[in-house]
């Protein structure tokens, strides 16, 4: 950023920081929620609870980062939750068949990418609506998971396979540094590589990106494949966390991921948003869920509170934006 903004007419100067403003707002909410829950239950700040909190949102972190890429292209991926179950099933079956954890990992990630590739080809190459296509694969992947598992869970005892999702160093689950690594890698991909620019370009105006020779149709395919790969990684973590493959894993996770991405300020119409916002969105979401459990809040109210926070953040943001725009 340059300092030129200070001397320009007020309108553009304010607009420039609309995302930054959202992030500050989210950080504020996170602090308020943390302090509030901390007062209500001293256990909230215990290292054990922080470990639990982070571990519980590790999978959501991964899926939401994939969802951020997709929503930056103006798309949506409803299939990620089902894909966690499907790719987990493929991974567990591969593990039991071969006895090799690396083969199991590879199979899970490859299966996730396969669902992503189906989404990507239909959406990017054949130009079908993302909502439609992923709604179909949402059902399809869940169905295949049920078939693979025969609707029952499969126990996993291979220590190597369970390591990522199951092991903690003290209170620090190993999955947390792993998620941080993925975040760094995806940030480099999104902000540092030509692929990342193409993601923004495809979401800003796909026609322009096309005419400029950026091959947005190819970008879309890869974005969905990326989301599928992250679903595969999430599946490995989920299996590790529960020492078994579960046909109903990942149920409704797509909605949590979409919620977190929207909280994080990424536009539903593509082209605007950053990974940092999504991270903050997931964190806020996780803290609220954790805190509501810790404070013994009536479960009837929990959904209500989540809905109100989402609506409140979006509403406030829009109001502030309108005020500065006028």
């Amino acid at each position: 950023m340059t300092t030129a903004t200070a001397t320009t007419p007020p309108r553009p100067g304010f607009r420039l920081d609309s995302l930054a403003r959202r992030y500050l707002f989210l950080i504020g909410l996170i602090v308020i929620a943390s302090v509030g829950f901390g007062i209500a239950n001293e256990n909230f700040y215990s290292l054990a609870n922080i470990g639990i909190l982070l571990r519980s949102i590790a999978v959501l972190f991964l899926l939401s980062m994939g969802m951020t890429f997709i929503m930056l292209t103006g798309g949506i991926d409803l299939s990620v939750g089902s894909n966690v179950a499907f790719s987990g099933g493929v991974g567990v079956v591969a593990l039991t068949a071969t006895g090799s954890a690396p083969l199991g990992f590879a199979a899970a990630v490859a299966a996730g990418m396969a669902i992503g590739a189906i989404n990507g080809v239909f959406i990017g190459r054949l130009r079908l609506s993302a909502f439609m296509v992923t709604l179909a694969t949402y059902a399809l992947a869940r169905g295949m998971a049920l078939v693979i598992y025969d609707a029952d869970s499969i126990n996993v005892s291979d220590a190597a396979f369970l390591w990522l999702g199951g092991v903690s160093w003290g209170n620090m689950p190993v999955v947390i540094p792993f998620v941080v690594l993925v975040f760094v890698a995806l940030s480099v991909l999104l902000y540092g590589s030509t692929f990342g620019r193409d993601v923004y370009a495809a979401g800003s105006n796909i026609n322009t990106a096309f005419v400029l020779g950026r091959r947005p149709e190819r970008t879309l395919v890869w974005v969905y494949v990326l989301s599928g790969a992250l679903a595969g990684l999430s599946a490995i973590i989920t299996v590790g966390r529960v020492s078994s493959g579960q046909p109903w894993a990942g149920l409704y996770l797509e909605f949590d991921a979409i919620t977190a991405v929207i909280l994080g300020g990424t536009s539903l119409f593509g082209g605007r948003g950053r990974l940092l916002g999504t991270i903050l969105g997931v964190l806020l979401y996780g803290i609220i869920i954790n805190g509501l459990v810790l404070t013994g809040t009536n479960p009837y109210l929990q959904s209500l509170i989540k809905g109100m926070i989402l609506l409140g953040v979006v509403l406030l943001d829009t109001l502030v934006q309108r005020r500065t725009a006028q």
Partner: protein, 343 residues
């Protein structure tokens, strides 16, 4: 980050002091983590649980009894998270109605390490301290047998609405119902379909069945949640169907005296909620119940139907409550499981 760390350690210290200070008083903290919260059964269950906590806390002055319940809304991930957070809170007893028992094995070990008594709800777990089970196969068999005994000996077509694929409780109930039906030749199962414990899905399935099988005689379900839409649809389309329920929901029991519901299994959410608290209290007092504790679940029929059934060869040793009695204990959980039952 440093701020948080300081705060965390300060609070940890505070907790330590508070912990020793509180240990003087005898406390019993019970947490119930349920898989979902959609059916009337759940509502009755959880409110029975809450009422029982209050009643026990008031009845026994020497113990401070507290409790709360959580609902995972059908999501495995959410349930695991809730369980982890709860373990970290160290309650005395946890009732966990696991969406899938395999997924909870690591957490059972963790809870026991923390000194928590883990009671697996409905689906028994080898590793759990206790399992609270419903005798689903036996109950289902009773429902199937009742169907046989009340079908009148002629060809009788029934459609069975199942639970969610892979859910052990639903599978056990199905197994029992089929076993009971197999005890006679005239009852034919024309359709079986899972409705995922979902009332809305049950509605469309019932609609389809009524169109597809115009000569259907009865609908059987593994939960009373399916009965509400099924009865409504049959009534609206003027069909004279009979229903065989499972759960003992009060509104369904009310449909039994001269109504279309012929038999039901008296689980009753309210009763179960009360039974949880009674069990936790007994454990706290040092009693050791069976490792696999079977919830007492009589079959419900009208007196008239019971007689008819007995005449048709229904086994006499099956415990049957008549409708009035069933309604009474279903509404007032304390009759069977209240503080008086353990005083």
């Amino acid at each position: 980050m440093t701020f948080k760390r300081t705060l965390a350690s300060t609070l940890a210290l505070a907790t330590g002091f508070a912990g020793t200070a509180m240990a003087a008083e005898d406390t019993l903290d019970i947490v119930f983590i349920n898989d979902g919260h959609v059916a009337p059964y759940h509502v009755a269950w959880l409110s029975g649980f809450e009422d029982a906590i209050e009643a026990y806390d008031a009845a026994f002055e020497d113990v401070k009894i507290t409790g709360r319940w959580l609902s995972a809304e059908g999501s495995l991930e959410k349930m695991i998270q809730q369980t982890e957070v709860t373990i970290n809170e160290k309650p005395d007893v946890m009732f966990v109605n696991a969406i899938n028992v395999d997924a909870f094995e690591p957490l059972v070990a963790k809870a026991q390490e923390a000194g928590i008594t883990w009671i697996a709800v409905h689906s028994p777990m080898e590793s759990a301290d206790y399992s609270f089970t419903l005798g689903d196969v036996e109950n289902g068999t009773n429902q199937g047998r009742a169907m046989c005994a009340l079908s009148g000996g002629e060809a009788y077509k029934v459609a069975v609405m199942l639970g969610q694929a892979g859910n052990p409780s639903g599978e056990a109930r199905r197994e029992g119902i089929m076993k009971g039906i197999a005890s006679c030749d005239n009852v034919e199962v024309v359709a079986e379909q899972p409705a995922d414990w979902d009332t809305v899905k049950a509605q469309s399935i019932a609609e389809n069945w009524l169109t597809q099988y115009p000569d259907l005689d009865a609908i059987s379900g593994v939960t009373d949640a399916y009965m509400y839409p099924s009865i409504a649809i049959a009534t609206n389309s003027g069909k004279d169907l009979e229903f065989f329920g499972y759960d003992g929901d009060i509104p369904i029991l009310q449909q039994m005296q001269d109504g279309p519901v012929k038999a039901d299994i008296l689980l009753s959410g309210t009763r179960e909620g009360w039974n949880f608290v009674q069990m936790a209290y007994r454990l706290h007092k040092g009693e050791t119940p069976e490792k696999v504790y079977d919830f007492f679940t009589p079959l419900v029929m009208s007196e008239e139907n019971h007689k008819l059934a007995l005449a048709n060869g229904f086994p006499e040793d099956v415990e049957v409550y008549y409708v009035d009695q069933a309604l009474d204990v279903a509404a007032k959980g304390f009759l069977e499981f209240g503080p008086d039952s353990v005083k």
